[in-house]
């Protein structure tokens, strides 16, 4: 039997040139980003790595390969205190900020008077540079600051010097307030977006199944917004760990300093050869940060795998 159905013409086959273009189309389109990223990030990392191992012809130093700068750094008095202080300034605000942000994001889903205004105001610090936050903290919390002077005027303290030392101390509350001022809006924004995507149905289902509000939060809401919380905490922690300007301005002016401040002090030394030590510190910061983030992500993936999500 002869088929009367018309055959469609075969689609034109791509030539070798088109085939090649198709193959490299995406890499070519990505090339500008890759070049900028490589030269700015990887390039500087390689330069820092080489200098930390003694290769710095710019400063007339070429003792490559040597681990001298690392061994001197690790055996230096106060190095481990610096590591501890850097961790302290990074972890405490991350934990406090995350807890506060989750609470705020949950509250923002409810209807309350002035919500639209609050919704706008809480995001403002995201648009303002850290240095403005630093200036604000000095203005408010310094011993000669607005709060200390107000308390003195009210007769609650005998002298502005009696106001608790929040800035320029190893306690670092001034540093952490600046971090929180900037990072709470950031984490809230991320967690709130995840919550909006999640919708209320999951929680409603839990409630109708007999779960209390607290059980619903703990067993249903938090596990489902965990990806958002993890992403936000990773970014916030990484920033805090490597942050320089905030602890440099608001931190104590005596040793120990945070690792980034130590690196800056070495880099800014009149003796140029100390810049190699600064690079060793930078590499230590990068190594610790990377190891922590990798372990944190591995742990999180393990948690997600156990829950069948990955």
């Amino acid at each position: 039997m002869v088929s009367t159905r018309k055959r469609l013409p075969a689609p034109p086959q791509p030539g070798p040139r088109q085939h090649l273009l198709k193959r490299f189309y995406i890499p070519l389109m990505l090339a500008p980003v890759v070049v900028v990223f490589s030269s700015l990030f990887l390039g500087s990392l390689i330069v820092a790595l080489l200098q930390s191992f003694g290769y710095a012809p710019l400063y007339n130093v070429d003792e490559f390969p040597t681990v001298r700068h690392y061994s001197q750094l690790i055996s230096a008095p106060g190095f481990w205190q610096s590591v501890g202080l850097t961790f302290y300034y990074a972890i405490v605000p991350t934990i406090i900020g995350t807890a506060f942000s989750v609470y705020l994001a949950l509250a923002l889903r409810r209807r309350f008077y002035g919500k639209a205004l609050f919704n706008y105001i809480y995001k403002l610090p995201l648009m303002i540079p850290y240095l403005v936050g630093v200036a604000l903290i000095i203005l408010l919390f310094a011993n000669g600051g607005l709060i200390a002077r107000t308390l003195f005027q009210l007769g609650l303290i005998e002298s502005t010097r009696d106001f608790p030392r929040i800035l320029l101390s190893h306690g670092g509350w001034g540093i952490m307030i600046v971090y929180l001022w900037k990072q709470i809006p950031f984490t809230t924004l991320i967690v709130f977006s995840v919550l909006i995507g999640l919708g209320p149905e999951s929680e409603e289902a839990a409630l109708t199944l007999g779960a209390s509000r607290w059980q619903t939060l703990w067993h249903v809401t938090l596990p489902q917004i965990m990806p958002g919380i993890v992403s936000a905490t990773i970014i916030v922690f990484a920033f805090n760990f490597g942050s320089f300007e905030v602890p440099f301005i608001l931190g104590a002016k005596i040793s120990p300093f945070t690792l980034p401040v130590e690196a800056w002090r070495a880099f800014d030394d009149a003796d140029y050869t100390r810049r190699l030590r600064a690079m060793a510190i930078v590499m230590v910061i990068s190594l610790i940060s990377s190891l922590l983030l990798i372990s944190y992500l591995s742990l999180y993936r393990f948690y997600e795998r156990r829950r069948g999500r990955v």
């Binding site: 149905e201 999951s202 409603e204 289902a205 839990a206 409630l207 109708t208 199944l209 007999g210 779960a211 209390s212 059980q215 067993h219 249903v220 596990p223 489902q224 829950r307 069948g308 999500r309």
Partner: protein, 363 residues
């Protein structure tokens, strides 16, 4: 078993009245469907029963006792959602046992009851699978299992079949009917699908614009709709305008533009008034033109204007003068477009409404 009573329930969102004074009773162990188009207030009614919305006025009672002061988690209801809403971070056993875990029952008892319920919903062996590894029908069965395991006083179902394909929907309808009869749980089922409501429910409440416009058995709603809008919603799309010429003992006669039609009931409306008769497309008989001599009553000649094949049935649009009717006939015999036919309207299948303020109300 629990009787659910809704009494003059009102829900207002700012200036919008979502539910405007709905009252109905779901007898213990029965299944009632709330049927209506999108936005008619049926889901809001369900959410108020669940405690997820606070009513503006009215009362909700379980066995005569108001549940309004109770939080959702204290009402002991089960709710099955349109989008299943399984917890994606828990496997099937975790989802099904969730309600019992929240009640802090011993682990061994939870495991035993999960096993039993999964057997009932024919998902034994699926305990360790996660929702993302299940089909739509399986997910919906897990959602139902998660609800029935807590022995709810009332089960609420919010369009639970609307996300399933046609074949699965049919299977799930049979499954839900069977399960509900077996467990005897008082159930309120929300749907916009009239076929679903008729197949599943013991009684149907039809809702339009926040109001319950008719409540009755599926037969009553299907065959004796109270208004032309309900008739239209239930698929009776043929409306025949006429004048009530006379009425007698259990029957009446209408004069229409084509011919006189005998109607199998006597509307209490005065003789001479304008009325509208409705008849379902599947209740009209169609014969070849040659068979015209055998048809004695309510018959007239017409021509096929349109014929659409639907597998088991064929949908025809026929015209006779200014009469245009939709007819559904079996597909074992076919009429061609333009072919002459004889149409018969069975007096028992004609249902008469008078005109009331734009909406025709049954008499």
């Amino acid at each position: 078993m629990t009787e659910l009573e809704i009494d003059s329930l009102v829900k207002r969102f700012d200036d919008v009245i979502a539910v405007g004074g709905v009252s109905l009773t779901v007898k213990a162990g029965s299944l009632v469907a709330l049927l209506g188009p999108s936005g008619c207030g049926k889901t809001t009614t369900l959410r108020m029963i669940a405690g997820l919305e606070q009513p503006t006025a009215g009362d909700i009672r379980f066995n005569g006792e108001s549940v309004l002061p109770l939080q959702p988690e204290k009402r002991n209801i089960g709710m099955v959602f349109q989008r299943y809403v399984l917890f994606p971070h828990m496997n099937v056993a975790g989802n099904v046992g969730f309600g019992l875990r929240m009640r802090r029952l011993p682990k061994a008892e939870i495991a035993e009851r999960v096993r039993e319920v999964l057997e009932i919903v024919q998902l034994d062996g699926f305990e360790r699978r996660f929702p993302s590894q299940l089909s739509g029908g399986q997910q919906q069965r897990v959602a139902i299992a998660r609800t029935v395991i807590t022995n709810p006083r009332v089960m609420l179902m919010d369009e639970p079949l609307s996300n399933l394909d046609a074949k699965l929907r049919e299977e799930m309808r049979a499954f839900i009917t069977d399960l509900q009869k077996r467990l005897q749980i008082t159930t309120l089922f929300v749907t916009h699908d009239q076929v679903e409501a008729i197949e599943l429910a013991d009684q149907i409440g039809v809702m339009f614009d926040g109001n319950l416009v008719q409540f009755g058995t599926p037969e009553e709603i299907f065959n004796r709709p109270r208004t032309s809008r309900i008739a239209d919603f239930m698929g009776a799309t043929n409306l025949i305008v006429g004048t009530l010429e006379r009425k007698g003992d259990g029957e009446s006669v209408l004069t229409t533009s084509v011919q006189k039609l005998r109607v199998g009931h006597a509307p209490p409306h005065p003789v001479g008034s304008e009325v509208v008769a409705t008849v379902r497309p599947e209740h009209i008989d169609l014969f070849p033109a040659a068979a015209g001599g055998d048809c004695a009553e309510n018959c007239f000649s017409a021509a096929i204007e349109e014929a659409v094949y639907y597998g088991g049935t064929v949908s025809y649009q026929v015209r006779s003068g200014d009469f245009s009717l939709q007819i559904k006939d079996r597909s074992t015999r076919r009429f061609a477009r333009g072919e002459g036919v004889i149409v018969r309207l069975n007096p028992e299948n004609l249902w008469v409404f008078p005109e009331v303020g734009g909406e025709r109300e049954a008499v």
